[in-house]
Subunit: 464 residues, 2 copies
């Protein structure tokens, strides 16, 4: 007689106007966790969440219908329960339905020292309990969107025939030569010839070099996996462990690369808005009022393309006109966040790709332009945060790559295999890197990377 | 006039019988790599692969139509080329079409010392060149299926509302207490208070403990990410780095768990057969003649469920009947591969879940059965390889878990957070672990784990 239903199924049924189904559905069985329990005299209300949907299900219980009314009235926040009851449509009310309980059973009680009580807690407090914070609205919303955005990435690339490559986490390369790395080891010293792999081993900072090898076989490939930086910097945008997406496309140049980035960003925005409407509404109400508006605008924008040199000219013109920047502006500099935001928010007033950066401030593998001074790189800047994606056409000419590696002091011994890709049927190719966690921050308006990672890792912070 | 086409598009068009389209398509543009080049007198044939499809595209070139015929005749295997030509349908031939080249341009030559020449190479030889081996048929097929199987996993779980959780790679827990772990470090000694995280940090061996916390909020969750074992064992089934899928379902018992495993395995088999037909055909022809037949049979089987105790009885009966095993059989033992295969291949003759193992040989978190001797665990055995998946219902009773951790000598200090999940609205729940690489081996018939990982990591072997 009682039909098992999830809260999501009930909402979809009651909101979807599939009356045929609700008509025949009278008695339902539910399981979930008590978000709040408000007994009042002979009646009580439980806000039940079963994990399947952002919104709670209201369970009404009445002394007349429930033999364990007193016990039920004492069920504490966080407890798990099993509910049998009658479905009642309430089209006039805020919730489209409620459950009139005929039976409520406690499955697991929640102890008194439960650290999540009704009142709001600071994000900082919650970071100390990453195993529990996901039960509150904000993190419940974040981590469902994290899952949905992951799927968006896979659907976008797979639907276009890209091959997903699990590039290695433990690597013998020291990456881009940029940034500190963790070592993976089983010894207590530096006699690496006695270590597990017989040599020094690191946790990867990028899968790009490895995935390039696969692009030379499959044409279009992507990675989506964890990466690591052992930098001792405590900012809101840096974590020691994070997830990266690194597509690589063969027979493609920087223009193709920017087309791909633009398509991907727009696809993901659409996907999240469509698949997490309740969660996004919550963020707009509670976290960042502008978030839906901001990403919808990006979704509907044409992404402008501007060279680094043009950007420098714009900045210099701004200074001439009396605009003040904290940092000096000159050709050859690495743009600061204030400069990026000025270009993006004041000049373009929308998403913009800056391209063709001075070779000195970019990585060794980026393709040298004919001017011999700049490389075919692009950074996508978006209003509100600045850089979201960084990409480049790769240097496919062996001699030029070799020369650039000399200039940048790269180890050719450990990267000979990478250089060899240029000797064995290499071709024009390009790719980019998207920091998944930062993308999630951008979409939701969450300002600290520690709050979009399930168990964040930062310097001197390793919780569980 | 020339329309850019991928080889996959051409095959789909010519095989799909969409004649309307091929009628209007006359001149095409292609890019790709030369698999073979066979010049012969005034004519030549290039087998072109552009990475998008398993099969090659035949490009015919003729001295009369090509001004660089001589140069073309010398294009070496592995080179990348740009081709313009006329599409010619050849419905009588092995390939449904060929390209009559009007223009062939070399984009990237392939040097003479290219290690992949026409003749077949041993898998062992190819393991030394993981950046190049993917260009040959076998690895080209493996790594596309790896990508397709990854997507199958995500589609299976996401379509049922499971939330994908990025459980951490660097962890302070020492996992199941089983197996050696890598440390992640930035120091050269063991003064861990001075290390990056201020304490000892490991590379994860399992995401299960962390993902259980998320199951207590989202009900149904899964991980899909890398895991590590620093075991010094050189077998064909162990790698130091591998990918794992670990679903966890709340309000669920061992029966629900086995239902989910069965559904997942069958979904993945269907998905791979449907999305990689050319690759699977290749494996059946060249690697493992039985592979399509074997997985199709599993697909159409009902997965039998049998207790460990019943299995021991079957084994003892076999011994009574004169069957010889290398290892002794007794209740309480960990089954050897020969025993598993006997049960699976001789008794059941199909996939079988063994359940309810002695608690002594299973992990601390598995739920103790009422007999106080066995735990609610299951191993899925499949014909040909034995164990494919291991799962269990989890111990949700704080006191029983506490007692089991004492018995197994687990560190309660670092796992208090995990135990606390039982104090704060815990519930009946279950989950399993699927070794992704082994699943891929099973589907394709590849026998060495080193040959299904893009850049395999094993003891004293860290290539690039």
């Amino acid at each position: 007689m009682f039909e098992f239903m999830t809260v999501r199924e009930l909402y979809e049924m009651c909101l979807g106007g599939e009356n045929q189904e609700t008509d025949s559905l009278e008695y339902v069985e539910l399981e979930g966790w008590v978000r709040t329990n408000r007994p009042s005299g002979k009646i009580g209300f439980i806000a039940l969440n079963d994990g399947t949907y952002f919104r709670n299900c209201q369970v009404v219980y009445n002394e007349d219908n429930l033999d364990n009314f007193k016990e039920t009235a004492h069920i504490s926040t966080g407890s798990s329960v099993h509910v049998l009851g009658k479905l009642k449509l309430t089209p006039e009310a805020k919730q489209p339905f409620e459950i009139e309980a005929t039976h409520i059973e406690i499955e697991g009680v929640c102890d008194e020292d439960y650290p999540l009580q009704k009142k709001r807690h600071s994000f900082e407090y919650l970071r100390d309990i990453p195993h529990l914070r996901v039960r509150g609205n904000t993190f419940f919303a974040i981590f469902r969107i994290r899952s949905i955005l992951s799927m968006a990435i896979h659907e976008f690339f797979q639907s276009q025939g890209f091959v997903y490559v699990h590039t290695p986490i433990i690597t013998g390369n020291d990456g881009e030569g940029a940034g500190e790395m963790f070592r993976a080891t089983t010894i207590d010293n530096t006699k690496f010839e006695e270590d597990f792999f017989g040599k020094e081993a690191f946790l990867t900072v990028t899968g790009q070099l490895h995935v390039e090898a696969f692009a030379m076989a499959f044409r279009d490939v992507y990675t989506f996996g964890p990466a690591f930086r052992a930098e001792n910097s405590n900012t809101t945008r840096h974590a020691s462990e994070f997830w990266m997406i690194e597509p690589e496309i063969a027979f493609a140049d920087l223009e193709d690369d920017m087309d791909l980035i633009e398509d991907m960003v727009k696809f993901c925005i659409d996907y999240v808005l469509e698949n997490a409407p309740e969660e996004m509404k919550f963020f707009a109400e509670r976290i960042d009022h502008d978030c839906i508006n901001r990403i919808t605008k990006v979704r509907n924008s044409h992404f402008v393309r501007m060279t680094y040199t043009e950007a420098i000219n714009h900045l210099n013109k701004a200074i001439e006109n009396g605009y003040k920047f904290e940092n000096k502006v000159y050709w050859g500099m690495d743009l600061n966040s204030e400069h990026e935001r000025y270009i993006c928010e004041e000049v373009v007033k929308g998403p913009v790709f800056l391209t063709d950066y001075p070779k000195e401030i970019k990585a060794f593998y980026m393709r040298l332009n004919d001017d011999q001074k700049t490389v075919a790189a692009c950074d996508l800047l978006v209003p509100g945060i600045g850089e979201l994606v960084g990409g480049s056409q790769r240097e496919e000419r062996y001699d030029v790559l070799n020369q650039m590696m000399t200039e940048k002091g790269m180890s050719k011994e450990t990267l000979q295999w990478y250089m060899d890709l240029r000797r064995f049927g290499g071709c024009k190719h390009a790719g980019f890197g998207l920091g998944f966690d930062r993308f999630l921050m951008y979409l939701t308006g969450i300002e600290n990377i520690r709050d979009v990672e399930p168990f964040p890792r930062t310097p001197r912070n390793l919780k569980f």
